[in-house]
């Protein structure tokens, strides 16, 4: 019984060790919430935000209609 318990503990420790060594660091980083990435990779969120922005910046000037000819 003792041998079996020791084996289990060793296996568990080994598994944890392997996980720490081989599990890509980036995957851990990706799990941390990065709101830039979350938002800018979601078209849905960006559409919502750009609509909000367009409501608050209605008077944003465009190009002058007086421009004429080739640049």
């Amino acid at each position: 019984m003792k041998t079996m318990r020791s084996s289990l503990i060793i296996c568990f420790a080994l598994a944890i060790f392997l996980l720490l060594v081989y599990f890509p660091k980036d995957t851990f980083c990706a799990r941390q919430e990065n709101y830039c990435f979350t938002c800018h990779t979601s078209a849905r969120k960006l559409i919502q935000i750009t609509r909000q922005i367009s409501k608050t910046h209605k008077a944003r000037p465009g190009a002058s209609p007086e421009t004429k000819g080739e640049g």
């Binding site: 980036d26 990706a30 919430e33 990065n34 709101y35 830039c36 990435f37 938002c39 800018h40 990779t41 078209a43 960006l46 559409i47 935000i49 750009t50 922005i53 367009s54 000037p61 465009g62 190009a63 002058s64 209609p65 007086e66 421009t67 004429k68 000819g69 080739e70 640049g71």
Partner: protein
């Protein structure tokens, strides 16, 4: 060029994270802002849209230091020929010049590039927006970067969009801009050049077509006869776009505008105003540029009082090269054909003094060849 919707301009492809170089950096490392703030309003405080402009040393330059070193000397960034030519034509009075220079900064310096505005997004001057969802482009795409700015002349010539004029032969061979205009030319080399023809790494036809002078090559005689006397474009360009009378100003809402009086398709051979060791030819193709003595009249009267110091017909290298052109169809298509050359009567009287070194006098025009 298709415009982008506002959200498309800033949409990032999630596969960007797989970019083993740029994808490993945190967004805030280049752009600033606070990635841990869930409120987009406050998260964007201090965000820099284009971290590569005006100084890329703390973004792109951290890894690409060899390129960033000469960044500010790239004509696409410095636009230094604009400044130099306007300075040459400008009124020497300091107060007047300051106003001209303000106008230059308002109207002429908006069309610059940067690392980001070629390799990540469309140039700001055409509304910006990512090229491919923030995936870095080693070679800038032609339609959304190069011809987004160089549209009126280069794009129409190269792609055959001027009515009745075929596209450039290199276009038909599927050449992209970067095939001739290499990164070393685009990125600057530290030189402070007065015009693009002085740039050391500028492409030359002979870089690829060295064999044209070999006795065994087709038309070797013609190429030998005209070598060093006429530029390649004199024989191989098609007619191209010319403009005149550009005026700058601001409308009653304070929005800047420009008005060009006239654009026309023409082909003119003039005397080389930039004769040098690299460009020894006496005859070159000349294009009328849109500058006018009253271009900055809105800002200041008599701003370009030294207008006549530079020609309005400038040396040109049109991007509509063809092997066979009307002017090289026979010897006498050019020889004894004064209409092909820039004559006094082709120049507006008020521009004659400015173009005195470019107009071809009758005695210098090649005589008709009697066989």
């Amino acid at each position: 060029m298709e415009p982008l919707a506002p959200h498309e301009k800033v949409f990032v492809d999630s596969s960007f994270a797989e970019d083993e170089n740029h994808g490993q950096l945190g967004c805030e490392e280049c752009h600033g802002g606070n990635p841990n703030d869930p409120d987009w309003r406050t998260a964007h405080r201090g965000v820099v849209r284009d971290p590569s402009f005006p100084d890329p040393s703390k973004s792109c330059g951290l890894c690409h230091d060899d390129i960033a070193e000469h960044y500010k000397s790239s004509l696409h960034v410095s636009l230094s020929p604009f400044k130099k030519t306007i300075e040459t034509r400008a009124n020497p009075n300091k107060a007047v010049y300051m106003k001209v220079d303000t106008a230059r900064q308002v109207h002429c310096t908006a069309c610059h590039a940067s690392c980001g505005q070629c390799h990540v997004s469309r140039p700001d001057s055409v509304g910006g927006g990512f090229l491919d969802s923030h995936l870095f482009q080693k070679r800038p795409p032609v339609h959304t970067v190069c011809t987004a700015c160089h549209g009126s002349r280069i794009e129409k010539e190269y792609f055959g969009k001027n009515k009745g004029i075929p596209p450039d032969i290199h276009r038909q061979k599927y050449f992209k801009c970067s095939r001739c205009h290499k990164a070393v030319e685009m990125h600057g080399d530290g030189g402070d050049y007065a015009n693009r023809y002085e740039v050391k790494n500028v492409p030359k036809c002979l870089d690829c077509h060295k064999a044209i002078f070999d006795t065994a090559s087709a038309n070797a005689d013609e190429h030998q006869t005209h070598r060093g006397k006429v530029s390649c474009q004199v024989c191989h360009s098609m007619p191209y776009k010319n403009c005149s009378g550009c005026h700058f100003g601001k409308d009653n809402k304070g929005l800047k505008f420009y008005k060009t009086e006239r654009s026309w398709i023409d082909f003119k051979v003039g005397l080389n105003p930039l004769r040098s060791e690299n460009r020894p030819e006496r005859f070159v193709v000349v294009r009328h540029v849109p500058v006018d003595p009253a271009s900055f009249q809105y800002y200041v009267k008599d701003g370009l009082s030294n207008f006549d110091k530079l020609p309005t017909w400038k040396m040109a290298t049109p991007h509509n090269i063809r092997r066979k052109t009307p002017q090289n169809s026979s010897c006498n298509a050019c020889h004894g054909n004064p209409k092909l050359f820039l004559r006094q009567e082709d120049v507006k009287p008020q521009y004659l003094r400015a173009n005195r070194n470019v107009v071809v006098p009758l005695e210098l025009m090649p005589k008709r060849i009697e066989k």
